[in-house]
């Protein structure tokens, strides 16, 4: 693991751990170590650090992202990591609890994670987006130059049962590249829940990652208020499997 990414991983694991408490020991601000965050009045919701971690060995706090009644199709509340630098291989991991997302119809969706390129290819920058469809399906949308009929995106889906889960992903740029998503796996040899082989060379590498609650589609767009995702322990690396 590259030293820079190791530092990043440590910093991001410490999302809820640094000093400066506002709510039962949780940080008052999401700014450090993140490079940006979107939260508060007018942004479509809130993203705050709240008591109740999601890890197997619970941390004190987790990231709680909620829409309010002002959320619209492009809303995003959460945190942004701008430290990746055109990474041709990129690993990420986070815990998710979607129990408070609320009732969603079959094709309603929200997004929770994005790994973007620095520049657009085929008109967009999302190398990988992860969303929640219908409240019970985790979906990966991967940039794929070889799929113009699908708007240059290839999609994979996997069921997400109720409760706390940890999600790990791998992005390798190439022709074909590799996008894998594990749910609650303990080793890299475990079968991924989703495996895709998109042609993503044109996107060069991951240059930014974002985690939170974004882009309500379908019924949530009309009734987004109160929809909540709990997230925790984001970690990213260049190559090695992160695990729980």
């Amino acid at each position: 693991m590259n030293a820079k990414m190791k530092v990043l991983a440590l910093a991001l694991v410490g999302l809820a751990g640094y000093a400066g408490s506002a709510v039962a020991g949780c940080p008052a601000s999401l700014v450090p170590p993140w490079t940006a965050n979107v939260t508060g009045a007018g942004t479509g919701g809130t993203a705050t650090s709240q008591p109740g971690g999601l890890e197997a060995t619970p941390s004190a706090c987790s990231l709680v992202a909620s829409f309010d009644a002002t959320a619209v199709a492009f809303s995003f509340v959460g945190v942004v990591d701008g430290t990746p630098a055109n990474e041709p291989t990129y690993r990420f991991r986070f815990y998710i609890d979607a129990s408070a997302i609320g009732a969603m119809a079959g094709f309603d969706s929200v997004q929770t994670f994005a790994a973007n390129s620095a520049a657009a290819a085929d008109g967009f920058q999302n190398i990988v987006r992860i969303g929640l469809i219908g409240g019970t399906t985790l979906a990966v949308a991967a940039a794929d130059h070889s799929n113009p009929g699908g708007n240059f995106v290839t999609v994979g889906q996997a069921p997400l049962s109720a409760g706390i889960h940890w999600v790990e992903g791998q992005v390798i740029i190439g022709t074909p590249g590799t996008v894998k998503l594990w749910i609650d796996a303990t080793a890299e040899s475990d079968t991924p829940a989703i495996t895709l082989a998109p042609d993503n060379t044109a996107w060069v590498g991951v240059d930014l990652a974002a985690l939170g609650l974004a882009t309500p589609q379908g019924a949530p767009a009309q009734t987004p208020a109160g929809r909540t995702l709990k997230l925790d322990a984001f970690d990213s690396r260049r190559t090695t499997f992160i695990g729980q």
Partner: protein, 161 residues
Amino acid sequence: MKISLSILAGALMLASGGAFAQSCASPIVVSGGTTVTGNTCTGANELGTVCIFGQSPANDIIYQINVTVPYTATVISLINNTPAWNAAMELITTTCSGNSTCPRNADSNGPGGNEAMDVTGLPAGTYFLAVNSTNADPGCGSYDVSSSGGFPVMLQSFDVS
């Protein structure tokens, strides 16, 4: 006497609307107080990704707003003149890029609907207002954009010789 009138030029562009380049590289600088007319059908799809997550296959018209505090603007309103167009506006921070965050968005109504963006409480800085279509919608249309109140005009350059 030579007077550099960049502010006046900006005001004139604001009044005349869409005849100028309206891209991230050459946005129209607006400060409110008048109505801007435009048509995204005459633009280009410059921001295929918006607000990090959003999919925007539609054409964009880009305005720049230089916010200094205090300011009087409270709402930026878009009047939609195209019945089939599902308009949207995003206020993009700092850099005109799909990887920039958006502290404000307006996309509450469907095709033919108007949009309104609450712009109270913004920190000082440079913002870009993108006019395009709702998520994953390639449609386009014509519009009028205005604001209640305005943003103070920053003196960019002025010399007399």
